[in-house]
Subunit: 134 residues, 2 copies
DNA sequence: TATTATTGTAAGGTAAACCTAACACTTTGT
DNA sequence: ACAAAGTGTTAGGTTTACCTTACAATAATA
């Protein structure tokens, strides 16, 4: 007796994030291209896409470009914001180099709580405005 | 042609961490107790313990207390330090409540890079010494 | 348009972590 | 010392997320 689980797995979040990015950049994105970008087999992408379709986060028909739904955008942008907040904190406050900042953000974005994220965001803003006083 | 993988999975790191804690507190720890603490079946713990034994991170014989090896201590203490550094940062710098700080640390400790961790540590120290100036 | 390239999917497989049920072994308490 | 309680392992399942191989469908191009 399994019911729909509201929360996406890290994996599905990753797919959705790439799709969202393509959407932001007005890039057509097909399954094969997604597979290339994520370094994952076309077969696995195919499976993942049907999950995202059944969760109504994307629309997709074979051989057409993937499109993201309103709800998909909502969820993806949350993840994407987390990514940015983390990356920004790592770079601006901790002085981590962009690449490493991004890699760490990519992993942490899926598991950090909303509240901690907010605090990190606030702190980064605060830091930018006040670090000169130290 | 599979060779030994140097890195532990998150899961095995969790087991090792609990074993390490018992070691620090001079507590005898048997598989069944470990299962209880981690809310996992005895069967799963049994499997996990044989993996840790084969990686020479613990010593273990049925019905005896689990003991951790030198290498096990080395690896566990690294994870444990990460946990502490993160928890401390969340509490001290971000003002997160202990429980949430710990929960987030538990997840992030397995995936954050060593370098970022060090920077967080340094920053926390710096913050403690200088926040009064703001 | 015929051929080649690209794209998508189905089938079947692997590996990791978990589970329950059943059974065997060990320890404890009376 | 023996029954009850506790502990450990095995066998067999599930789920998730990958994979390869093989084939089918579509698109691009000579």
């Amino acid at each position: 007796m399994k019911t729909k689980n509201k929360n996406l797995s890290s994996g599905l979040e990753d797919y959705l994030e790439v799709i969202y990015l393509a959407h932001l950049n007005n890039k057509q994105l097909k399954g094969a291209e997604l597979a290339r970008q994520m370094n994952i087999s076309r077969a696995s992408v195919s499976e993942a896409l049907s999950k995202l379709v059944s969760k109504k986060l994307i629309n997709y028909n074979s051989y057409e470009a993937i499109s993201i739904t309103k709800e998909g955008i909502k969820q993806a942008s949350e993840i994407y914001n987390k990514h940015h907040t983390l990356e920004n904190f790592f770079e601006t406050v901790l002085g981590i180099e962009k690449n490493e900042a991004s890699e760490n953000a990519c992993k942490i974005e899926h598991i950090i709580s909303k509240n901690v994220l907010e605090k990190i965001h606030e702190f980064t803003d605060f830091w930018i405005n006040n670090k000169n006083k130290l």
